[in-house]
């Protein structure tokens, strides 16, 4: 507890108005990074004693030090640290891809497909229903036509479908989990993320054509998404091939090589609009399944996983919009509960149809609550395409993501402990 208080008081003094005349506020990024690394790590370790996941501690530390509470980390710091955030995401995605072992998942493919299918369909339908019945709570929908309500609900549903693979893999790594539930949750989260990007393109095109009939059914966005997804897969295959060759013939300095790969993937996706998550997932998947040294790659990343997770999740906590949560907390809470109910139903039906055991039908839903990057990215696209929905739509989506990202890791961790898969990984 003493180091935590010490670093906190030190930061308080450094940021106090007494020292401000001697300071250069433009140079605060490195100090913010150092502080968040130490503070989030210590904070997470303390929360772990309360049986909460480390990453929940990192996220809460990010929120606490972020622009909405203590302001130790400013929005410009978060923006400046975007590169590290991207690097961390690439490394997490590489690990997630590496965890997708074909041999292990072969027997679960049917269940994963069924769970993904039912979750997607039920969440989409459920949010369309919520939109129709709850339109009086949303000011910009009150006087909207039924088609506009449909467009809004369809997009909100699409945004609510994905589960964050980054959070999922972080909890699985932290709890050293292995087994049926772990494979089902991770497999479904990854596969769903892939399909949701494509479904989103369809939803957006449909929503635009029904909410703004003058636009008609716009295929260009769909084509753009398909190009991005196809391009990401190709780049991922190329990078994966490179990793395999490196691990086979060079073998030395794997950590440096992985860092370079993560940086390269991030830059490619950042500059040309591809999906870093998809690129690294494919690359990790290829390295794990088509090379004898795949395990070395994953163990090299996992060894240094804690700093990666601290940076990624603390920064994601710092970027959570608490202002939006304050504004729309009741509606957001309804959406979160409703999403949970729909996730349960989707998982239940998917597991029942494929005759999974009763435990999977009853409890596996708890692994699908977290929600982050992809949903946020899609929300920004929606905001850009439907400016008339304005801040209210974005505030609602951000508030829902904020709540889900805080409770999601706790649900998944509890699930893995409940089904006794935590600590099973050698």
């Amino acid at each position: 507890m003493i180091p935590l208080l010490l670093i906190f008081v030190l930061m308080l003094i450094l940021k106090s108005s007494i020292l401000l005349p001697f300071a250069n506020p433009d140079q605060s990024t490195s100090i913010a990074l150092g502080f968040i690394l130490v503070f989030a790590y210590l904070f997470g370790s303390h929360l772990k004693r309360l049986s909460l996941p480390l990453i929940t501690g990192f996220i809460l530390a990010g929120i606490l030090c972020g622009p909405y509470v203590l302001k130790f980390i400013t929005p410009s710091d978060v923006q400046d640290l975007d590169l590290l955030d991207g690097l961390a995401l690439s490394l997490i995605a590489l690990t997630a891809g590496g965890e997708m072992n074909i041999q292990r998942l072969k027997g679960r493919f049917k269940s994963i497909s069924a769970i993904v299918f039912f979750q997607t369909v039920i969440v989409l339908l459920g949010f369309v229903l919520l939109g129709f019945f709850g339109r009086s709570f949303i000011s910009f929908l009150e006087e909207g036509t039924l088609l506009q309500v449909f467009a809004f609900s369809l997009l909100l549903g699409t945004l609510s479908t994905p589960t964050s693979p980054a959070t999922t893999i972080a909890i699985i790594t932290e709890t050293k989990a292995s087994g049926k539930y772990t494979d089902l949750v991770l497999g479904s989260a990854v596969v769903k993320d892939f399909f949701v990007i494509v479904i989103f393109a369809f939803s957006l095109s449909i929503s635009k054509s029904v909410a703004m009939p003058s636009h008609g059914f716009d295929l260009s966005f769909l084509l753009q998404i398909l190009e991005e997804v196809g391009g990401s897969i190709l780049i991922g295959l190329f990078i994966g091939g490179g990793i395999i060759l490196y691990l086979k013939y060079i073998k030395r300095d794997v950590t440096i090589f992985i860092l370079s790969v993560a940086f390269f993937s991030y830059q490619i996706s950042h500059n040309y609009g591809y999906h870093p998550l998809l690129i690294c997932l494919i690359a990790g998947f290829l390295a794990e399944n088509f090379s004898a040294q795949g395990k070395r790659l994953i163990s090299a990343i996992e060894k240094s996983s804690i700093p990666i997770y601290v940076v990624f999740f603390a920064l994601s906590g710092a970027s959570l919009n608490l202002g939006a949560l304050r504004q729309t907390w009741l509606l957001a809470l309804i959406c979160v509960v409703w999403r949970g109910v729909l996730k349960f139903s989707g998982t239940f039906f998917g597991a029942r149809i494929t005759q999974e055991e009763a435990g999977v039908q009853k409890w596996a839903w708890a692994g699908f609550i977290s929600q982050a990057g992809v949903a946020l990215g899609m929300a920004i696209v929606v905001e850009h395409n439907f400016p008339e929905w304005g801040d209210e739509f974005m505030a609602l989506v951000l508030a829902v993501i904020a709540i889900n990202q805080i409770i999601g890791p706790i649900f998944l961790q509890r699930l893995l402990f409940k089904v006794k898969e935590a600590g099973k990984k050698p």
Partner: protein, 173 residues
Amino acid sequence: MLVYLLGLVFFVSGASFYFNLLPLYMSMVLGITFSNLTRIHEKLYPLLLSTEKPLYITFLILVGALWEVYFDYRLALLVGLMILLRFMAYILPMPLFKVILDFPLNLPSRFGLSFLSSGGIGLAFAVSLKLAFPLPLTDLFLSVALFGILITELVSPWGVRMSIFKLDKEEKK
């Protein structure tokens, strides 16, 4: 432990940038404090060694990115002067000690050539100055330092080899 260490390094160097101080010295003070006042220093050093290579490579990439390469006669003069001074500073003391002060040193007179390489610390000084004081003068300083370091790094293996051969010869005699 690694998070803790990386966090402290970033925090201390960040604090020095925040208050316009040199991060290199503050980080050195952090290292001295950690090694001498904590019980974890035995774990610390192997950990630092294991992270050194990736961080060093990242640092070199940063140096490359910071360096706005240009070349003119003034720069050439300064680089030449720097290398000359460095050679003199390492070669001259040995005969000076031996001949003038009659100091009992059983080493070849050009033994100082083994110390030509300045390694990472020279680069760190130059980059630290450039980051702390982003002025045109520090740009020139960085260029001179980098050219000088590059050349001495290229020459230093030859210097080490020469002094070892010489030492070997004298021992055989």
